[in-house]
């Protein structure tokens, strides 16, 4: 670092070493904080409107023109009911056929674009994950007001 101010004979070295120590300190502190506050499992929730299906309070008078939409999950098939019309959807390899269900839901959505409510009836021996998967499929297809029948 021979800096000569007068003669100009010695040129000042322009290469400066960056001080990495505080940078490494900062990174280490940040890593410790992020590791301690890390959430490894992203939890979310699916809500059900149980009051609409099992409430003992006096419900609003039913609209005679209103078509009830419901879905029944049984052990070997599903029943999609649109009023009195029902569509049977058989399971594929022991699991509900979600692709066929999406077709039915798309058809319902085109018929009733304002409707978001649907009632789920389930078999008692069906596994919990099938109920969740069904609710997830319904929410995905804009039927977000899902009521689960607990009877």
């Amino acid at each position: 670092m021979g800096a000569s101010g007068l003669g100009g004979g010695g040129k000042r070295n322009v290469n400066v070493e960056l001080n990495l120590v505080p940078f490494i300190d900062l990174l280490s502190t940040l890593i410790c904080f992020l590791l301690m506050t890390a959430v490894w499992q992203q939890l979310s929730s699916l809500s059900t409107n149980s009051a609409s299906t099992t409430s003992s309070e006096s419900p609003a008078p039913p609209d005679p023109n209103r078509v009830d939409l419901s879905l029944s999950l049984l052990l070997d098939h599903m029943l999609a009911q649109e009023g009195k019309k029902s569509t049977k959807i058989a399971h594929v390899a022991g699991e509900p056929d979600y692709a066929a269900l999406i077709n039915v839901l798309t058809e319902w959505k085109s018929k009733y674009p304002d409707r978001q409510d649907i009632v789920l009836h389930t078999d008692s021996q069906a596994p919990y994950k099938q109920l969740i998967k069904l609710m997830d499929t319904l929410v995905e297809n804009k039927f977000e007001d899902v009521g689960v029948n607990t009877n």
Binding site: F23, L43, S44, Q125, I132, D136
Partner: protein, 197 residues
């Protein structure tokens, strides 16, 4: 005997470095004499370490969740996956684990192998829910009771156990039931439901 005049005297002189090997081993000689010691101070390659730190921080920042963990999940409990769930909010938690029904870390019921009519109700769970409801209504006297509750269960749990817990919750006025699921992030993230304050 003057014959010695004009003769040259050859003294004893130091010989020059005349024994020069074909391959001079300067370094070997230096090592033998201990002149060239290798420095023990090594430069730490910091660039690669900083690269690693930066990648680690980016990964951790992407996994960062400002809400944190709402509750603890047991090891032997696998939540079902769902891609269109909302953010899980803090609320009283009912866990259905194996043969037990647990409410806020306290066992409040059993899951028998066969469910009879008498097993439909969970009286201890109902009493605990009633107590929590009284506390909530006391804390917030001017607000309507929201009845928000979280349920977590293993994905293979038969729905009969879920339904009887739900029935007990509904009978005590806890109608806003949320199922805890493992968010797979496949769908659009949805904000939590608006709360009426």
């Amino acid at each position: 005997m003057g014959g010695a005049t004009g003769t040259k005297h050859f003294g004893v002189v130091k010989p020059g470095y005349h024994i020069r090997p074909k391959y001079d081993l300067k370094k070997t000689r230096g090592h033998v004499k201990g002149e060239h010691k290798k420095s023990v101070i090594a430069d730490l390659p910091l660039v690669s370490m900083i690269d690693m730190f930066t990648i680690l921080i980016i990964f951790l920042l992407m996994n960062f969740s400002a809400t944190g963990e709402v509750f603890f999940i047991q090891k032997d409990l696998k939540l079902p996956d769902a891609s269109h769930g909302k953010a899980l909010e803090s609320a009283p938690l009912i866990s259905i684990v194996g043969t037990s029904v647990i409410f806020e870390a306290e066992k409040v019921g059993e899951n028998p192998m066969t469910i009879t009519e008498n097993d439909q109700n969970l009286p201890r769970l109902a009493a605990a829910l009633k107590q929590v409801r009284i506390i909530e209504e006391t804390i917030h006297p001017n607000q309507p009771f929201k009845g928000k509750i979280n349920i977590q269960a293993d994905e293979k749990t038969p729905l009969v156990y879920i339904k009887r817990v739900m029935q007990t919750c509904i009978s005590e006025g806890w109608t806003n039931i949320n199922f805890a699921v493992n968010g797979t992030g496949g769908g659009e993230p949805q904000p939590p439901a608006p709360t009426e304050e």
